[in-house]
């Protein structure tokens, strides 16, 4: 039996574009159960990323609320939102944004460094994660020396280092070739399953979405169950 980890209630998000107001999400509601893998699919520009940003505490809606374990995100201060993102969310983005001035190992360690984990502990954990994704030999390399697939694997390790409850993945294989995509998909689902994490995934790839336990389609600014 799943209990609810994250709830989006009646979310409305509009963007101002010159004189016109663009509605991206309207009265959207979504429940993410603990341990589930939830895929959001939809056309380009349908607001999938906006939905993830709101769920991850990176953006705020004009109406509605995001509830994480009985805590309402909109009532949190900046510092609390930062802590929320750092401790509870693991982000994986399409363009695997890594910090260029840090090595792969340091990139993985970064969230735990921000959190204040003990150095030995975080180094050990980061090395374990890199080993798990077959990148232990690349730990000292900077992102510029890594391939697209390797960078995305580093980003995956970085998302997991703080043992977050939820992994938010935005088109995680969108910028990779077919072979790398397949490897990253498998790693993502294996790691989420091994570590009993909740996955909130945005993709336009139906085959990837079908690996999730729940699939929603973003249509007419709302989430509907995909069948």
């Amino acid at each position: 039996m799943h209990d609810t980890l994250l709830t989006l209630q009646n979310i409305t998000k509009r963007f101002q574009s010159g004189d016109t107001q663009l509605t991206v999400l309207e009265d959207l509601s979504l429940t993410v159960p603990r341990g589930a893998s939830v895929a959001i699919i939809g056309k380009s520009g349908s607001g999938k990323t906006t939905l993830l940003n709101i769920a991850g505490g990176l953006d705020t809606p004009q109406a509605g609320k995001v509830i994480y374990k009985d805590r309402v995100l909109s009532s949190m201060k900046d510092r609390q939102l930062s802590e929320y993102r750092n401790s509870n969310i693991g982000f994986v983005f399409q363009s695997h944004i890594l910090l260029e001035d840090f090595t792969a190992l340091e990139n993985v360690m970064m969230p735990s460094l921000i959190r204040g984990m003990r150095p030995r502990e975080m180094r050990h954990k980061a090395q374990e994660l890199l080993e798990r994704v077959d990148l232990s030999s690349r730990a000292a390399h900077h992102p510029g020396k890594l391939s697209g697939g390797e960078r995305q694997r580093v980003a995956l390790c970085r998302a997991l280092i703080n043992d977050p409850d939820i992994i938010i993945a935005d088109e995680p294989t969108g910028s990779l070739d077919e072979q790398s995509s397949s490897g990253i998909e498998s790693l993502l689902f294996d790691l989420v399953s091994e570590q009993n994490r909740t996955l909130l995934l945005v993709t336009h790839d139906i085959s990837l979405a079908e690996r999730c336990s729940h699939i929603y389609q973003l249509i007419h600014h709302r989430c509907e169950r995909y069948s």
């Binding site: 990323t49 940003n53 910090l99 001035d101 460094l113 959190r115 204040g116 510029g144």
Partner: protein
Amino acid sequence: MSTPSRYMFTLARSILHHTGKSQKNSAVIRLFVLVAVLMVPLVLSLSFTEGMIEGITDKYILLLDGHLQVYTDSEVITDALNSIPECLGTADGCTDAGITVDQTVGGYGILYGKDQTQEVYLKSVAPSYFNERRVKELALVTAEDLARTGVLPGVYLSRELAEHFEVDVQDRLALVLIPSHGERRVRPALVQVQGIYDTGFYALDQSLVFMDQESGHLLLPEENTRTEIIFDSYGEARAEELMQSLQNQVEHPLEWARYDQFNTDMYENFATSRQVIYAVFLTILVTAAFYITAVAHELIEDAKEEIAMMKVLGAQSKHIIAGYLLAVTGVTALSIFSGTMIGILLARNITTLLVLLKELDIPALRYYLLSFDVDIPVRKIVTLTGTLLAMSMVSVAVSLRHIIHIRPLDVLHQD
């Protein structure tokens, strides 16, 4: 190390050691070089100016005025000094207490050579006047003991005057004493050159002539008799205190003056020069702080994406600001230190440059001291460097507040 500190140090390290964009490295290197290059002339000119001012002041104090002048006989002062607590209990009285007393008589006269004349200030002193400390300021080139030989007063001339009159030791010059108050006749005399000295300072060399004590008592106005007091280990700052103690030992009221009450124009000029120099330094420091701020701003602009990403990962603005502040302050401090050390090193070796300048014999430099000990003004340098560091930290901190406005979403695409 606490949580934010570890993160801040890692961030600062990454700012200083870029592997990515080369313009970031160049900004840090530019910052380091500019501040260091700026500090070198500032420290050098501060040490040079302070050294020269101190050098000139020392020459005036030791050779012309003393730290204190008391207008009474030196025996009275010596007796009084030996009865005051400052001198009691020391093996050799006041000398051991770091206080030197000399009786002098002064007066103006005109020296006549074969073809030249020159107005001079005559100062009669005992042979003991040329002690180790004074000889350091005086550089006696050739000298016999300063004493009256038969009927001829003995004098020490500066090399400047000796060359002017084309005389050497043993040569004679005519002297006409300018009448003092109440006197109606001029008194001509012959004097014999017994020594040639070189203070290295034109303003003294062109007019100061030492005369033997016996002749001074005979020729110079009695009312110009004074007792010069020089402090060594005793401390100049206690002059007032010493005078109070002396007054308590003497029945009649003592008239006295501090060294800075003579040649007031010169000391006021020194004070003004110092103020002008500090004002110029302050302007330069403000400009440097502005530049440091501009570099900090440039670093942030170049790292907008990284900063936004760190915010996505949960970093707080204040910790990112602290990381940048640490990096910029670290580079600034290191370059201030390097520039200061180079400045001090050059200042310590400035004698070589001064010797070169002296050899060039540039007329405009005659009024400057070209031979002096550069005593590094540590406290002033610390104030100077501390001011720059503090100003840059404040302005950089203000500039870094821009980080607050970088949002995590700035790095993400919107769909």
